[in-house]
Symmetry: C2
Subunit: 307 residues, 2 copies
């Protein structure tokens, strides 16, 4: 038997990463490819809710990919891949982020589109393969789409996402706003998370020139639950900067209802960050009106400023 | 008026690079995008034959792209881009090569597929956009496809290429083998080229780890016309190694009829190259049975060996 092909999202997986891995592995299986969905970290409460809702088993954790063949979904830079991915064979990529640093020796299938979720692109790949989408798959894809676009409210949302969401909701038999609100509730659940878990829960790392930058994001309907713990959250961020040698570490606390964010900063280069985000920090905190998307409204300006 | 968007192929453009730039610019124009086809170097005799045959004007030469917005076709690594591309804004990529080192700050449309030509992918992009392909566009796309696949004979040729070629030939009103033989004749024309021009005519540069590697290719029905001048060709290769600081420089002389290649080598690391290609060099020359594709049969093993 040949080696299986793991379909896997980024570290600190979110709902789009996990649901896209599942949906794409199922598409490959329907094409007689020995594909196995996997994840690169613990699922968050929102994703667990989705998996329970659609009665789908949590994909297995892949701890070391060094000798594996991989399809990357929802990411395309090494700083976000499963451990060992630099040594693995990357055979396909489906993503909706900036073009990162993954290179290959051979020509591969790489589909990157500036849409709101990887799930949106996967819906089109099902169409291109003439493979029908059943209600369970539609439910997972819709969850990835609604999670990444904050129920079509994020500025990353495109008309394509809206059309695809309508269609997936119909197939899945749910109503977008009702199901979306259930998702947001889960996303907002800070529960009894430690400050450290808040920072690292939805966390991405970037190499901007010689700078190692980390950006966490908490999306919530109750931002005050994080911000009233500002001192301990910043202390946790300082620890993470030291341990993992970040140049700069940011935590975006995004208010899903007011559609804006507060950002906390630790590490060096605070002035560079302030310039990049066109703001001023007071006590390591700044308010960013209208900012909801790390990818679209924070990463590009930081990359420009640091590179 | 907004800044135009240049659609441009790699340096030392081949027929697929030039025809893909034209066809994709036309598709963008049909979508009300102010796109302009361009090229990153002189067109070769085969491409000139194609442009004359289909009565299409040669796209303008772009000499410096530093302040431009670019769509890259038929390449996705900086060592092959038009000068200034590192400073330019890359807004889309359509290609069929290995994934290279181009990165972006924002999410972009990047379509890379392991098929025989960029023209094959563009044919599908016309379909996805519901834009009909007229006979002139079909002629150009077919030319790119047949040129890159050596009239469907190269091991890079996929079933998709065959299906697309049939359809384009019908729309263009030409017969694949007849038109293809005319193309091969042009490709084979060494004419009164200098040895230096033979090496640099169809030439690609790669960064493998810290090594700067150049690989030229002459595709011909009369390989002896190149090989009988071996001494002066190697002297020209030595000059190019010195001037442009190559670690290693290869020239593949590919016999289109016998479907094999002879490779000449200059620079250092000849043993590494010999190991990678599983051959032995005698007087800087080796025979490679069955090798026709630089991309698929030479680049991956060299990259592995040098990295």
């Amino acid at each position: 038997m040949s080696q299986p092909l793991y379909v896997i999202g980024h570290q600190q997986p979110d709902t789009d990463a996990v649901c896209s891995a599942l949906a794409y592995a199922w598409l490959k299986q329907s094409q007689e490819v020995d594909a196995v969905p996997a994840r690169a970290g613990e699922v968050n409460p929102e994703t667990q809710f989705v998996l329970n809702f659609w009665s789908v088993q949590t994909p297995p954790l892949l701890e070391d990919a060094a000798t594996e063949r991989l399809i990357l979904v929802d990411h395309n830079e090494y700083s976000q891949t499963v451990p060992g991915a630099r040594e693995a064979e990357i055979v396909e990529i489906v993503d909706h982020h900036r073009i990162g640093d993954v290179t290959t020796s051979n020509p591969i299938f790489f589909r990157n589109e500036p849409v709101g979720s990887t799930a949106t692109i996967l819906t089109h790949l099902y169409d291109e393969a003439d493979e029908p989408i059943d209600s369970e798959t539609a439910g997972l894809l819709l969850s990835g789409l609604l999670s990444d676009t904050v129920v079509l409210r994020s500025p990353t949302t495109t008309d394509t996402d809206r059309v695809v969401a309508e269609r997936l909701a119909e197939t899945a038999g749910v109503e977008i706003e009702t199901y979306g609100k259930d998702l947001l509730q889960q996303k907002s659940k800070l529960g009894n998370k430690s400050p450290r878990e808040m920072v690292l829960g939805d966390f991405k790392e970037f190499e901007f020139g010689s700078h190692h930058v980390g950006i966490g994001q908490v999306e919530t309907v109750t931002p005050e639950a994080v911000l009233e713990q500002q001192a301990v959250v910043l202390a946790a961020m300082d620890d993470i900067v030291d341990e993992r040698e970040f140049t700069t570490l940011l935590l975006l606390v995004t208010d899903l209802l007011d559609e804006d964010s507060t950002v906390l900063v630790a590490g060096d280069y605070t002035d560079t960050v302030a310039d990049a985000l066109d703001t001023t920090f007071t006590d390591q905190k700044a308010f960013l009106p209208g900012v909801m998307s790390r990818k679209k409204q924070v990463v590009p300006s930081l990359e420009d400023a640091f590179s």
